[in-house]
């Protein structure tokens, strides 16, 4: 009978890998400590949470309140949709400059990518604060914040999508003397369009989630109702706001997923 070689079930990590794992664990524990993680507080919180639930339920379903919250939610969706649409449109030319090997020189690609990284690094709520200062309180500041946030998100992913498309169609057009911009418009962008649509729908979902809290800093939308509800200890109304946000965000995510499947699923 011939001897059969069985590989070990587990590979022994190298010394460097072992040190890496140990370092990662230390960093995670250090982060827990920095975040004030307390088992005592975790144990003592359920009664307080139950107290909040007790005071928040039933949510405030008065028609007058629901009508007011409903209109605020509509405004929230308007902020999200308008900001996302502007952001997606602006992202396309910016992504063309950020994508390597398309129309711009490498130093332009790098500069634009760095700028997009900066935009993403600043949270949407911070952009909202900036625009409240710049254009005043109200939904316009929120829309601008969403638009900028969307540019940071879509600009980077559109560029990655265009870099990833198959180069064959572009090469065929280049070989017949087409200009760089024509090649991008006729081969690269159509090939990347399913990914663009998918990214744009994710951007819309993200915009809807973001727009629900921009009101906390006076940038319009339903967030202001949430803040007022908690500030005035009107927990039933605050709970109505939370539930309304949850329903709308989940609904938008489902619609987005359906649209994504319908549009991109058609491609073979």
């Amino acid at each position: 009978m011939t001897e059969t070689f069985f590989p070990n079930r587990m590979e022994r990590p190298s010394a460097v890998a072992f040190l890496g794992y140990a370092f990662a664990i230390v960093i995670i524990l250090w982060s827990f400590a920095g975040a004030g993680f307390s088992v005592e507080k975790v144990i003592s919180s359920p009664p307080r949470f139950a107290d909040f639930i007790d005071r928040a339920f039933p949510p405030n379903l008065e028609p007058k309140v629901l009508a007011r919250l409903g209109w605020k939610m509509v405004e929230t969706l308007q902020i999200a949709l308008a900001g996302a649409v502007i952001g997606v449109i602006v992202s396309i030319p910016i992504a063309l400059l950020a994508a390597r090997g398309l129309i711009a020189a490498p130093w332009v690609n790098q500069t634009v990518r760095t700028a997009l990284g900066f935009i993403r690094a600043v949270p949407d709520i911070a952009w909202a604060l900036v625009f409240v200062v710049a254009v005043g309180l109200g939904p316009f500041a929120g829309m601008l914040a969403i638009a900028v946030d969307t540019v940071g998100f879509c600009g980077r992913f559109f560029a990655d999508d265009m870099e990833a498309v198959e180069k064959g169609p572009a090469e065929s057009l280049t070989a017949t003397g087409a200009r760089g911009l024509d090649v991008v418009a006729c081969a690269t962008i159509p090939a990347a369009s399913p990914a663009f649509i998918s990214t744009s729908l994710f951007a819309l979902e993200k915009a809807v989630r973001s727009s629900t809290i921009l009101g906390l800093v006076g940038a319009g939308g339903i967030g202001i109702e949430l803040k007022v509800g908690f500030d005035l200890f009107d927990y039933p109304t605050a709970m109505s706001v939370i539930l309304m946000i949850a329903v709308v965000v989940i609904g938008i995510e489902h619609m987005s997923g359906w649209a994504r499947t319908k549009i991109i699923g058609e491609q073979r």
């Binding site: 064959g168 169609p169 090469e171 065929s172 057009l173 280049t174 070989a175 017949t176 003397g177 087409a178 200009r179 024509d182 090649v183 418009a185 006729c186 081969a187 159509p190 090939a191 369009s193 399913p194 491609q267 073979r268």
Partner: protein, 289 residues
Amino acid sequence: MYAPCTPTLVSLSSTTSSVTDLLNKTRFAQAQPAQAGAQFAPVLPVDIRAEGLAKSFGGHQIFSDVSFGMSRGEAVAIVGSNGTGKSTLLRCLMGLIPADAGHVTMLGTDIGAASPSDMRKLRSQIGLVSQKHNLVPRLSVLSNVVHGLLGQNPGVRHWTQSFAPAASREAAMAALQKVGLVHLAQRRADRLSGGQSQRVAIARALVGKPKVLFADEPTASLDPAAGDDVMALFFSLAREEGVTVVFISHDMSHALSYGDRVLGLAGGRLQMDARASSLTEHELRDLYD
């Protein structure tokens, strides 16, 4: 000026035991002046001249010292095993990638010295059919064919057939007529079969009435019957237009029946430059050993 079809070709009737022997015997005298073969064939303008081409990737030499010329209206097959640099050579000829050494002159333009604008002008006179047809999947067949005119007519109006001038749409439809696909003009390119896709790619390559056509294994992704159909169509149209054709093929019968000449790459060198009529499939296969 070259006369590539008038080689100093040694007879193949002697021994064929050694491949190297055979290849040496079929090798053309590179860059022979026209007068050397003037007694055999009329001197035609040279569309493509390559001299001393070399290319390497990451320190790995793909080929070196590759020289040949191609006359107007000639059909030249490039053969060789995988990895011998056939597609790379094609791309060097078109200026899509730069050669490490050597020169390419196409239709009177030195590719290495041409400005981007000159290159676009030159490329507007050439067409390319690739192995994977390279159509833009989500666009209509007609839009894909209209794109073949972008070199001659840059700008937004040729981005899609919807905006294209009437003359361009007519030219595109005429090209589709030639490949027998007028009835599919409005169909999305990703709804076509492999053979249909390659026919559309041929229409796109021919719509601008190119002087030189390149084809990189145009039948590689097709079944034998569809491959034969596509090659027959491709060459009937190319001959009709008097176009110079450079094509890569692993199909020996295609190389011999459609090529006037066969260039064989092996071992990083151009090992064969011979008239197709002087070769047999068996002899060509030896190049792959």
